[in-house]
Symmetry: C2
Subunit: 360 residues, 2 copies
């Protein structure tokens, strides 16, 4: 997407070439996908002032050439060691490799060492933070894709809530949502969380083939559409809630809505988190995770709304606002929207109503 | 699983403590899962001669305590920096941390640097290869899980082949297989590959919403059952194959069956690959990937059957044998079994018949 922006950063930070690695065999690196649209193994070379090159294994060449936005796509020489071959390519094209930019947050120690040795790079620089910041601000094209993805996620959550009384087990409800995603040709941002009764006190609970318990039930879901994640959490109540329970739900909802109102240009993630903690008053001790996270190709990306985050909110960032309360052995609840900050206010991308749905 | 085996390796390699990191927010590290059965964020500490400790974020504590095979499970102090807190824990428990074992193939550069700094570790050692070797030889419990997983994968492939004429597009066939996996409460080892006609010349083709083309069609599929992957590829032919096409398929099938017969104790991955290349004669130039890979918690693990692999075959290894031929712009074919080497011979875990199925 924003290769020129990265090149500008490289120039002002004296980085000759960025080398982005997607070397896992069956998954792919989100940075490489971001710039190329290619989901697979390969190495993306971005020189500071010439056109990028995508190198892939021979078996991926035809596919990479078809799907990549980057036009220079070549295969690695199978007989040579990968990073030695990379060095030859850089030499031949007169691309300097004195200072090499690498994403330290995704490159493994093994890859880093092989790369340094193969390229004979005298200096390496961490460009992880620059990449995070670039990807944190979404382009018009990304916002369009995300909008469609959230529409699909919403439809599935609405349908799951409508059908909720039919599900006998947590797993059945989760499976229903998975199949609905597949029917719509989507992947999943993460396996759906259906956490009922006491299980809801575990924020990342994995649904099991156990009957859906009475009480609050967390539905946390997201489809992956055209490589972009979505994220939404809604609550249903199975049985008849007491007045106190309804009161607590509405208390959390008010805190969540207030957290959304607090979003403004330049505010730090930690500040948004702290404001939410204040709103949760003496319940804050049951709020055991961050307030939110950016959403994009990765389900958790820039910005982070956690206790120590210095990430600043900017126009066209897409992120979640998701306070929750977890009382071990008792119950749990979480309300999560994903929002687009349009420079002035938060536009809520997750439009499923947030009133507590009672399922009898 | 085999913590004692790792500790034995550590003692003979003068490693005081192994620190295994599972710090990705929504996925999990396969080493940590292997030893703990916990799928989530955390750090697994394995001292060379005392019991292991699992540290997790506060929000994961209840869940980790429920699912972990390791009994010492604690939460990180939210107020402290993670690796500084880790240092305190090691100190308090009198666990030496002079030489720290880390998996360089999964730890990122960023994690590695923070860990070294936080622990004030004077020496770090790469235990990636030791972990790969340990995990490469499956335990009885793992073989049992894998057996069940392969039974499920087989049933879905049989059903997809039986129903193949009903599928209008590649995506429809892939979606059918995905939903069948979900119905059986399984995940996927990877998104199913349905590659028809010319598309089959791309080994890692992603199915699209295009009509299934006439000619050879690759069906490459695997469910993930109880955290363990499976992998199988079968071919169907849409339309009426020519005698030459049937001949080529049978040629590949003979090479595949011969490759399975070549499996014996102590043989190197590269040797198995080279034997297969020999069998493929002048067609070998169309065989653009490795002969096979280990299968376990990761879809690609030890041993590798690639051109330069020194990995040696041992009793109770589970791996694929999957020669393929890819003619760009024309067609592609691959036949893949996963086998268990029982010390004497290869037991085929993928039992779907390998004769070419003609779909009219």
């Amino acid at each position: 997407m924003k290769i020129k922006e990265l090149q500008k950063y490289m120039k002002s930070n004296k980085i000759d070439v960025a080398v982005l690695l997607s070397l896992h065999s069956m998954s792919y690196d989100s940075n490489v996908y971001y710039f190329t649209n290619y989901e697979g193994q390969g190495v993306l070379i971005i020189p500071k002032s010439s056109r990028p090159i995508l190198m892939v294994p021979e078996m991926e060449l035809e596919r990479a050439r078809k799907v990549s936005r980057i036009k220079n796509v070549f295969a690695f020489d199978r007989k040579a060691k990968m990073f030695l071959h990379l060095r030859e390519i850089l030499k031949k094209r007169k691309i300097k490799s004195g200072a090499v930019g690498i994403d330290y947050s995704s490159a493994t120690v093994e890859q880093y060492r092989a790369l340094r040795k193969g390229l004979k790079a005298s200096k390496t620089r961490d460009i992880g933070n620059a990449l995070k910041c670039i990807r944190g601000v979404k382009t018009t094209a990304e916002i369009k894709i995300l909008g469609k993805g959230f529409g699909i996620a919403d439809a599935i959550v609405r349908s799951a809530i409508r059908n909720f009384r039919k599900f006998k087990t947590e797993e059945e409800a989760a499976n229903y949502m998975k199949c609905e995603a597949i029917k719509r040709n989507c992947g999943l941002s993460f396996p759906p969380i259906i956490a009922s009764g006491k299980n809801a006190s575990m924020p990342h609970y994995k649904p099991r083939s156990v009957p859906i318990q009475k009480g609050f039930c967390i539905i946390d879901f997201g489809v992956c559409y055209k490589g972009y994640c979505t994220d939404i959490t809604r609550m249903v109540y199975v049985g008849k809630p007491t007045e106190k329970e309804v009161g607590l739900y509405n208390f959390l909802l008010r805190a969540q809505e207030n957290a959304i109102r607090n979003v403004k240009s330049g505010i730090k993630g930690a500040k948004l988190y702290k404001n939410a903690v204040k709103d949760l008053r003496h319940y804050a001790k049951f709020f055991t995770h961050g307030l939110g996270h950016g959403v994009g190709i990765d389900i958790h990306e820039f910005p982070s709304l956690s206790p120590k985050s210095k990430d600043k909110i900017e126009k066209n960032m897409v992120f979640t606002i998701e306070p929750g309360l977890y009382l071990t052995g008792k119950f749990g609840m979480r309300i999560e929207d994903t929002i687009l900050f349009n420079g002035k206010k938060a536009e809520i991308l997750t439009k499923v109503p947030k009133r507590l749905v009672v399922v009898k």
